[in-house]
Symmetry: C2
Subunit: 177 residues, 2 copies
């Protein structure tokens, strides 16, 4: 997949909004700084410091996805993503801001989004190279059956309760019906 457009990214996220727009700019600035293209596997990893709309741009544009394990979430509530290339060992930290935003745009979501998409990158993103440890790779584990419900469970998530190996919901007896 070549680099997705913002419109294609909206198709994934479901709607256009300022959060997705700033996430799109942050991600493209980071990929440009690293000279990287979208990750088919785990060539790139992203550490995201919030779980807001813009992270869908990280997933869609950089290929750092929740299901692939190369998206690491730190619940810091900060507009910061750090991208790491396993190919080159280089990392870049991008911070989204709106320092150059004209007065009066903040309360107009459509105009704000448009400005975020087209402003000079220095007006919306700060970035710098960083040295970080490579995030751990996704791991596969074996599985076994829960002794209560009989459903399959990853071995590392089984709990020993009264001599039986149970899945979390059975161990906590919180199953919905």
């Amino acid at each position: 997949m070549s680099r997705p457009s913002y419109e294609e990214t909206v198709g994934f996220h479901g709607h256009s909004c300022p959060g997705l727009a700033i996430g799109y700019r942050m991600t493209t600035v980071a990929l440009d700084a690293l000279g990287a293209s979208r990750a088919d596997d785990e060539e790139l990893a992203a550490i995201v410091e919030n779980d807001a709309c813009g992270v869908d741009a990280v997933q869609f544009v950089a290929g750092c996805t929740f299901g692939k394990g190369n998206l690491v979430f730190l619940d810091y509530g900060k507009p910061v993503y750090t991208f790491f290339s396993r190919t080159t060992g280089r990392g870049v930290r991008v911070l989204g801001h709106r320092r150059g935003m004209p007065e009066g745009l903040r309360d107009d979501r459509a105009r704000c989004t448009d400005w975020l998409l087209h402003a000079p990158k220095e007006d919306v993103v700060s970035w710098r190279e960083v040295r970080i440890e490579p995030p751990p790779m996704a791991r596969l584990h074996g599985s076994a059956l829960c002794a209560a419900c009989g459903e399959r469970v990853m071995e590392t998530r089984l709990r020993e309760v009264g001599g039986r190996s149970l899945c979390t919901p059975c161990a906590e007896d919180t199953r919905d019906d």
Copy 2:
């Protein structure tokens, strides 16, 4: 966006694999059971009990994405997704399995993937309606500046340290350089 094909879902995930294939079947079975289409906003929510490849099918096909806040992760290590429609109040729990898989396919990833995609749905997924509480909606919070680094932080993530309001990395002094 109409329902994405498996090939389009592979474009998002980055590669085809058995995990993505079973996730695709689980998601499409659930959407059919609910009579639901892809969520542009939070009309649908998904509670996923693992963070493996198949969750990328949940994100791409159902529009329940990490960035939109309608993807809830429970770290149970189980091949289970529960989808909830805010429109109808109905929920469906889908369990992925391979009960009908012919002997010898398990170690052949390409043939296994192909079988998972084309087998009768009863051979790969079990499902039932469930009553659950609606998952909480995504919330927006105000932000403030960290007194140490000066970067913006969601107010609910600020920490008081020595009388100053700090972001998590500054509070823990774990910033990378």
